[in-house]
């Protein structure tokens, strides 16, 4: 046996557990979904799978609700993650500075992230309550009319974004803070010696060196946001008029309420393809940014 072959074999054996795990938790379910998307398996088939070829996929392409939900999910994800990045960066920069009680504040910042989403969503449902919620209480106390935050298709998705930003900005801040701590302090000292000011430090040192962390956090958050379910399910249930329904909520309705598992699997895979496309665009952007 040649040396390289043996080395390859050892590598294979060493990564086998990880590969098996990946196979079990990723490849197998995906394969199963793929198979299920080619079946009619619903309450109308007595929950038995009946092969139907590409009928589910054809239905998906012509399903206005799927595309509306896809657009709404992308809008929610884009706006949420964008805001979280800006706010998270600002918070990370503040928390990176030395000041008294920084440790306490760092821990406190993490609290929203530690809260279960369902609990948090119930809380926000109350905060947005019309007319008894605190926001509307504030509006009324200064003589303004109350706003039906969760009862208006124009406002409800913004309410969902606000709740999501509140909950996940700490995560973004935490990852970026870790990134900030990896930047050697002497770079800033060198810039200071050359007479550079703090804006230059941000643009020329901090942001370029933080880029890998920004990509990482974007990838994590986009994957989560595109699959948003619990926040929407509790806060609005997808309403009003379907204006906040996400693809995950739609897939859930198809499976758990309509008992249409074939189509639900197709919606899930459609959502996965969308996620893959977003990740690909992000990677291309990263490559372009590095070049």
């Amino acid at each position: 046996m040649s040396r390289t072959l043996r080395a390859n074999l050892v590598t294979l054996v060493l990564i086998a557990p990880a590969l098996l795990l990946l196979l079990a938790v990723f490849v197998w379910p995906m394969g199963y979904y793929g198979w299920l998307s080619l079946q009619a398996q619903s309450v109308f088939t007595g929950l038995e799978p009946v092969p139907v070829g590409l009928a589910n996929w054809q239905r998906l392409l012509g399903d206005a609700r799927f595309w509306q939900d896809a657009a709404q999910t992308l809008r929610f994800s884009g706006v949420s993650v964008g805001l979280e990045l800006l706010l998270g960066l600002a918070i990370a920069l503040v928390l990176h500075q030395r000041w008294p009680a920084r440790g306490v504040v760092r821990s406190l910042t993490l609290l929203p992230w530690a809260l279960p989403t369902t609990v948090m969503a119930l809380g926000w449902r109350w905060i947005f309550n019309d007319p008894n919620g605190p926001i509307n209480g504030l509006l009324q106390s200064v003589g303004l009319a109350t706003l039906p935050f969760l009862a208006s298709p124009q406002l409800a998705w913004i309410a969902a974004v606000v709740a999501d930003v509140w909950k996940t900005t700490p995560f973004v801040a935490l990852v970026l803070l870790a990134g900030l701590q990896m930047i050697p302090a002497d770079l800033y000292e060198a810039l200071a010696l050359e007479g550079g000011h703090s804006w230059q430090a941000l643009w020329r040192i901090t942001l370029p060196l933080l880029r890998p962390y920004i990509f990482l956090v974007l990838l994590f958050r986009l994957a989560q946001a595109l699959g948003v379910f619990d926040l929407i399910a509790v806060l609005t249930g997808g309403g009003p008029a379907g204006s906040t329904e996400s693809l995950a909520v739609y897939a859930y309705l198809n499976a758990m309420r309509f008992l249409d598992f074939g189509y639900s699997a197709t919606v899930m895979l459609g959502m996965f393809l969308l996620l893959l496309l977003s990740a690909l665009l992000l990677l291309l952007w990263r490559r372009a940014a590095e070049a």
Partner: protein
């Protein structure tokens, strides 16, 4: 030496008698040993777990070898179904009995999750059940569910603000507007406008009040493409436009509706029977000032009350179907219902209980509830009901929030519903 024959006879007789005695004494013990202790597991929405606790305790005390174990489900109706379905999909159900909303039955039966009760409950198990709670239990000729409490939509009105409740939609609006202009209430009418099942229940009552229908066999569009459907949806929208109902009603479920009415902010409320006892509790601003009646209807149309009963079904996966049926009978029986009415303000399903003096004293609105049950209307009975409801919910929500004109939205809902039933072959109305 042999014994004389007579003595032998006597001996044999004595031995035989002794043996018979021993067998007779041991028989119950041996039967008890052969029949091991059985636990029947029941999944119920949280409020019913409390309301049936006394009945369950009494049953468990009097049945040493049969125990009822109740699982506390979520508060919200559809979440209970989600929980039940996720366990049913895994194969072996951890429950023997499920307390089911009337709108789930067709779907669960079609999925093969329920045990038909046909021969297990005697000749006519629904004989003593009031007509308004009888429908929706027999589907395709099989009995799938026995109702435990009836429920139907009611119009709550303020006895301190008017002498008698309005009978027509126009009257309701006129009375509301007058009271609002006099500054006596902030809102006229609060109801369930959130995009969820409750919106369908409210709409169905208004639809019938305008002379419309929503049934799987009606063409075109299950009745939704008729002017009556557009008139009903348009009326609901107009309530928000005119300020009779707050804009927030478009996100109201039952709790928000009750809250708005309880604080004295509204003249009318659409809700289920449970609300009446809530409104009499300390802290309510309208205790003693509330009457109930049926929903308003156009002149010449009869009012309607959406049926929302709860009933017990035996799950096919149960390994003790006989004992499950025994528990089902205990929980749906007269004693159990008496407690549910007296202590918890529920509505009975047994006709006899509506005339029970003790219950009438505890729940004075029983006659009105019985009257409403006579106008009870069912949501479509088909395994595709969840989809039909979802289609209509979205379109109604669109109308109520001002997104689409009523006629256009109802047209869309009708077309989508027709397409759905065609593609699934999901006709199948029940008896």
């Amino acid at each position: 030496m042999t014994r004389p024959p007579r003595e032998l006879w006597a001996r044999r007789l004595a031995l035989g008698l002794l043996a018979a005695l021993v067998v007779a004494l041991l028989l119950p013990v041996s039967i008890a040993v052969a029949r091991p202790a059985v636990t029947i597991r029941v999944l119920m929405p949280a409020p019913f777990v409390d309301a049936t606790a006394a009945t369950v305790d009494a049953f468990n005390r009097s049945h040493p070898r049969l125990t009822i174990a109740v699982t506390r489900g979520p508060f919200e109706t559809e979440s209970v179904s989600d929980l039940a379905i996720s366990s049913l999909l895994l194969g072996d159900s951890p429950y023997d009995l499920l307390l089911m909303d009337v709108s789930w039955t067709a779907k669960y039966a079609a999925a093969g999750w329920l045990l038909p009760l046909d021969d297990r409950l005697g000749p006519d198990p629904l004989a003593g059940v009031v007509s308004g709670a009888r429908q929706g239990n027999v589907i395709d000729g099989h009995l799938w569910r026995l109702p435990m409490v009836a429920s139907m939509g009611l119009l709550y009105w303020r006895t301190d603000l008017m002498e008698r409740p309005p009978r027509t939609p126009a009257e309701l609006v006129a009375v509301s507007r007058q009271l609002q202009q006099q500054g006596r209430v902030r809102w006229g009418f609060v109801w369930q406008g959130r995009q969820y099942e409750g919106l369908i229940c409210d709409f169905l009552e208004v639809l019938h009040g305008f002379g419309g229908r929503w049934e799987p066999d009606l063409t075109p569009g299950l009745g939704l493409e008729q002017p009556e459907a557009a008139a009903a949806a348009g009326w609901l929208r107009q309530l928000l436009v005119d300020g009779i109902s707050p804009a927030a009603v478009a996100n109201f479920a039952e709790p928000e509706t009750l809250q708005a009415f309880e604080t004295g902010d509204a003249a009318f409320m659409r809700n289920w029977p449970y609300a009446w006892s809530e409104l009499q509790k300390p802290g309510s601003h309208v205790a003693g000032k509330v009457g109930v009646t049926t929903m308003v209807a156009e002149p010449g149309q009869s009012p309607a009350a959406t049926q929302g009963s709860w009933g017990l079904s035996v799950l096919r996966g149960s390994s003790h179907p006989d004992q499950a049926v025994e528990v089902l009978q205990a929980l749906t029986g007269a004693d159990s219902q008496r407690r549910l009415v007296k202590d918890w303000g529920n509505t009975p399903t047994l006709t006899a209980l509506f005339e029970d003096p003790e219950l009438l004293a505890a729940s004075p609105t029983l006659p009105e509830q019985l009257r409403a049950l006579e106008y009870s209307v069912l949501r479509p009975i088909t395994p595709a009901y969840a989809q039909l409801s979802d289609i209509l919910q979205r379109q109604l929500s669109d109308v109520i929030t001002g997104g689409l004109p009523a006629a256009q939205a109802m047209g869309r809902a009708g077309q989508a519903s027709t397409l759905l039933l065609e593609s699934t072959g999901g006709e199948g109305t029940g008896a």
